[in-house]
Amino acid sequence: MNLKQDISQADFERIEKYLFDKMGENEKLFFEKELKETPALNAKLDELKLIFEGIEKAEFKEKLNQFHREMGKDSNLRIVKTTSFNWKSFAVAASIIFIAVISVILYNRPNANERLFAAYYKTDPGLVTAMSSKGMDYEFERGMVDFKSGEFQSAVNRWEALLAGNPNSDTLNYFLGTAYLELGYSAQAIQNLHKVSENSQSKFVDDANWYLALAYILEDKKDEARQALIRTNHPLKAELLNQLDEK
């Protein structure tokens, strides 16, 4: 390596500012120009860059040893509990950041309801299009094509328009409900599915109650879910009821 150059504090501060991306656009361009024209400055930058990286990596390695030692205190190498703060060396600020990070991690993990939902939810296969039964409408069928190709928002848009003129249609309410459920709007899905669930004449009543139960599970409304399950004749009814009762 080269002989040691003197680096003035002014140069040091500027180089550091540049390396940590704290310079404004103009300042940066000016500095980069200077770097090109002044090899000595460039050499200083390379050296400081290495030193900064070296310090960070060295401290990081120390930290790993600290994590390891703390783990050893639990004889079974248990996974660290989020409530145990034994890190006296941490400033209050660090503890607060720690809590915030943990909450974010926990919040973003699927909860028990979401897991239960995922275990039992299957997309409705949709109706065969170009059916010539009564009341089937071209716009409805176009929505069904959207639904079957996974374009649930488009399907919803088409069907909502139809629902305006046909608010009690069990077919529309059923498929809207399931489309909303696909999109994650469980509260809205409940509204649509509910209309079908109480219509024992509808050919969709069993499935509507099944999906209604799943939607209630997502909303953490276990009692309503149970009631919907009791009404349905879905083959997995007993199993899901058992699962609900275990929680």
């Binding site: 680096i7 070296g54 390695k61 996974i79 809590i99 943990i102």
Partner: protein, 178 residues
Amino acid sequence: MSSQKIIECFRNNDSGFLGILYQSQFPKLRRFVLANNGNEDQAKDVFQEAFIITWENIRKGMFIPSSNSDVNAYLFRVGKNKWLDYVRSSGFKKNISLEIQHDRFGEEAEDKESALQWVEKGLKTLGEKCRDLLKRFYYRKESMSMIANNFGWTEQTARNNKYRCIQQLRDELYKMKD
């Protein structure tokens, strides 16, 4: 946790995040190493090496995790491969102590690694105050005002002291070079 947040945690050396990652993932690799002719010390070494590689690759953008489980899987994979490489190597058969081979390509990367180790050595010679100051700024990414507060300095004093500590470090490093 979102991809962006995960990458930020690695860039900022978020100790809560890194600590949880370390302590929750170590047991799995440890079990693997122990089940494959390794001992406790080797498990620790391999895991830490894999952890460092994961940290570097995420920060460099060479690996972009989309979730926590992505990170876990990557970490385990790196560690497992490192261990298996070692077990299959001649060093292991001759009972040579574990010298983790870096997957470095070419002289440049090896030069860089030894340069970083040189800095690490120099750092160890500094006094406690300097080490603490440098650790807070360069590793913990604390702001100058936070650091100044901690030591009871003004910000300008903190800046001056940081500069002085780096000078000390450089002096030491050049001394060691001879």
